[in-house]
Amino acid sequence: MTTALVVLSVIMAIIVGWLWRRTVNVAPWTAQRAGDAAPGNGELQMPSVQVGLVVFMTVATSLFALLISAYYMRMVETDWTNFALPRVLWINSGVLVLASAAMHMTRTAARHGNLDATRTGLIASGAFSFAFLGGQVWAWQQLRASGELAPANPAYAFFILLTAVHGLHLIGGMWVLVRATYRAMRGVDPKRVRLSVELCTLYWHYLLLVWAALFFVLLNTHR
């Protein structure tokens, strides 16, 4: 549970520290002008949806940290068998980096109001993401075909579980991405497209980071 303990401690330290700084130097019992206090549009100078996404990513971080903790705790039992990771995972990782990079360029384009480049970027990023998901399924099949270990083996089960949970998070993001692409294609309301692009970019970078952590753990524990 060390991983979960460290990650959750860091998260809680950030949250508590942030709130502490906002509350330490205030004398709440003094009446003041409303104009001096918090602006009406929120504590954080970003859209509420974005705050919601950050909160969600924190929840997901907790989920992945717990899964990794469970992985390490289960690894030490005697029935654990290391196996050769499917090579295709390297390609998949590259494809996910490309998806993330495409998303980043899309955001730059959206910020400059370049609708054509935004559309292209969204489609490219979506295609790379689909390719990544396909590649992950392929990796599952390679592993099964290699016949190296029984499906009931915990190493196998954990590999499927970790990649599946990560994949499901990506699929959730794809739903927003597809909707943003649809909006961009129809050319409606560039402001809303831009917000969706901002959210997707943040989320894609985050999922890349999560995948990097998972891949790192897998590489360190398998051949």
């Binding site: 809680m12 004398a27 206090a37 918090a38 009406g40 509420s48 924190t58 929840v59 039992e77 029935d79």
Partner: protein, 595 residues
């Protein structure tokens, strides 16, 4: 330390800010069934939670009947007894208390108290309730499937939870795990709303340090729940896979009923870690909203500002932070490294410090206050008693050498029922008596309320006080029957009869409470907008009950904290948060002196 001071005399009119567009339903179904109004969702959450809580209350009554009068009731056999234990525990902790405090009170109070029109994501909020309802229905469905609900105990420890021989090992446990997964998904949707609304939805002038402590408690509890529930989610998914697909996340190699199972090498202790990584913060998920609400009830009814507001906020933060590093004190008997035990015993004792600080502050708020013993105040003071009692036995159980002999005895049952069952429930009652007038526009009947309080409060002590002694004698928990054991004297059986009688009386008086809820809805005294003469924004709405959008055409601007009671020189003994300084009495020197 320097304080930020401001020019207090100038009145600034509320400035127009962009307001969220609300979805105004046109049909009855849109308003009251598929509603996106947080207040309606709050009522939906509350009614569902209270209903399912009543089911759990009946189950506890059946358990007590068996313990008090063994061999009398033919329909309670060892299997069904374990099923009652399991379902009672899980329903009360998750489906009643968590859902009611966060889904019920959170939804109703957060937007109103921070001065928002609604939650930030109303649609997600609506879906949250329906997913919760689905989870409840799944759970209740397990009473009707072959084999009945699971009897694994609310902790659901593997391997026994999914082995044949445990009641409900086929259908019951799967429905329980899937229901929990759905509950967590639904809660996450709601939790996103509560956190983001507190951060982003506050009205002008409502700084973090002007939030009522109720909002602070609910906010921090939501943060804990969002981070802790994934642990339960992960364990539920992995156990489902172990059961359905034959994986071995938690299932060790074992022989069951003469047959070797396919599982091998799984770690039951891993499940315990994951479960309690969620389970301990869960205690504070339930306790923090209760702390917040009690602070407000005591302050309002003592007509004094809460003593040490900032300390109260920081104590909430400290408890939240510490609650993640104490979980293994539930696992002292799992054979852990003694140094771990030492670590977790230490952190457990440290978390008692901010908790005790809050208790002192409640008592100091009462000190020389103008105490009004209203029904909500009775429940709030009752909470302080039961919470201190339950907390003190927690100090026993937090220490490894004391915990080992007491583990899995009735002492533990008495401890956690005092500290996290009865205490939060007393707050729930107090809060319902307090906010019912805002929800319905009518007061709850006072006489019925007082009967309800005294019988519940005294009955609680009749139930749980003797239970501690049973635990010290070594009477184990979760046992269907304890006859034929030499170390348990006959007097223990007599005590059990007494406990059962008290429990049935307390359960029966809850009917009076339900009757009061219904009766007062039609016949209660009209309450007016602010019957408790309170300062917080929910009592300043133009209509009672508030309409969708809460505050009429313009949102209120906030000029002061929530605790301006009995301010020297003020015309009344409370100053609403949205009353500008220019219109209030000059409070500068007195307020400064209090600093």
């Amino acid at each position: 330390m320097t304080y930020v001071t401001h020019d207090e005399s100038a009145f600034v009119p509320p400035v127009e800010v962009d307001e969220p567009e609300l979805y105004h339903a046109k049909t009855w179904i849109g308003k009251y069934v598929w509603s996106q109004d947080a207040k309606v969702i709050a009522v939906q959450y509350s009614l569902t939670a209270i209903f399912v809580g009543l089911v759990a209350l009946v189950l506890s009554g059946l358990m007590r009947l068996q313990l008090g009068f063994p061999h009398t009731f033919q329909f309670i056999n060892p299997s069904s007894y374990l099923q009652f234990v399991t379902m009672h525990g899980m329903i009360m902790v998750i489906y009643l208390l968590t859902a009611l405090f966060l889904g019920g009170f959170g939804n109703y109070l957060i937007p109103l108290m921070v001065g928002a029109r609604d939650m930030v994501f109303p649609y997600v909020n609506m879906v949250s309730y329906w997913v919760y309802l689905f989870a409840v229905l799944l759970l209740l469905a397990s009473f009707f499937v072959p084999g009945g609900p699971t009897g694994a105990g609310w902790t659901l420890y593997p391997p026994q939870a999914i082995l044949s021989g445990t009641p409900g090992a086929n259908w019951g446990i799967i429905l329980m795990l899937v229901s929990l997964a759905f509950f967590i998904i639904g809660f996450t949707m709601g939790g996103l709303n509560y956190v983001v609304t507190v951060l982003q939805g506050r009205t002008r002038g409502m700084t973090l340090m002007r939030l009522p402590l109720t909002v602070w408690g609910i906010f921090m509890a939501t943060v804990l729940a969002l981070l802790a529930f994934p642990a339960l989610f992960v364990s539920a998914i992995m156990m489902t896979l172990d059961h359905l697909l034959g994986t071995s996340f938690f299932m060790p190699a074992l022989v069951s009923q003469g047959k070797g199972l396919e599982h091998s090498g799984g770690s039951p202790v891993l499940f315990q870690h994951l479960f309690w990584f969620f389970g301990h913060p869960e205690v504070y998920i339930v306790a923090l909203p209760a702390f917040g609400i009690v602070s407000d009830l005591i302050s309002i009814n003592a007509r004094r500002n809460i003593f040490g507001y900032r300390m109260m906020v920081w104590a909430i933060l400290a408890i939240g932070g510490l609650s993640f590093i104490v979980w293994a004190h539930h696992m002292y008997v799992s054979g852990m490294n003694p140094y771990f035990g030492f670590f977790f015993a230490t952190t457990t004792l440290i978390i008692a410090v901010p908790t005790a600080l809050k208790v002192y502050n409640w008592v100091l708020t009462l000190w020389r206050g103008d105490i009004h013993l209203t029904v909500p105040m009775l429940f709030a003071i009752g909470f302080v008693f039961t919470f201190v009692n339950g907390g003190l036995t927690g100090l026993f159980l937090g220490n490894v050498p004391v915990d080992l002999p007491l583990s899995d005895t009735m002492f533990v049952v008495a401890h956690f029922h005092m500290v996290m069952a009865v205490s939060p429930i007393l707050v729930v009652f107090g809060a319902i008596y307090h906010w019912y007038p805002k929800v319905t526009g009518r007061m709850l009947n006072d006489t019925m309320g007082r009967w309800h309080f005294w019988i519940t409060f005294v009955g609680t002590y009749c139930i749980y006080y003797p239970m501690h002694y049973l635990g010290i004698l070594g009477v184990p928990r979760r046992y269907y029957a304890i006859e034929g054991t030499d170390f348990i004297p006959q007097s223990a059986h007599s005590v059990n009869v007494g406990i059962t009688v008290a429990a049935l009386i307390v359960a029966a008086v809850q009917i009076l409470f339900l009757y009061n809820l219904v009766w007062s809805y039609f016949r209660g005294k009209p309450s007016g907008g602010n019957p408790w003469r309170a300062t917080t924004l929910e009592w300043q709405t133009p209509e009672t009950p508030p309409k969708h959008g809460n505050f009429g055409p313009t949102l209120p601007a906030v000029y002061r904290w929530a605790y301006d009671y009995s301010v020297p020189g003020a015309a009344e003994d409370f100053i609403p948060q949205n009353q500008p300084p220019a219109k209030a009495a000059p409070i500068t020197p007195a307020a400064r002196a209090r600093a």
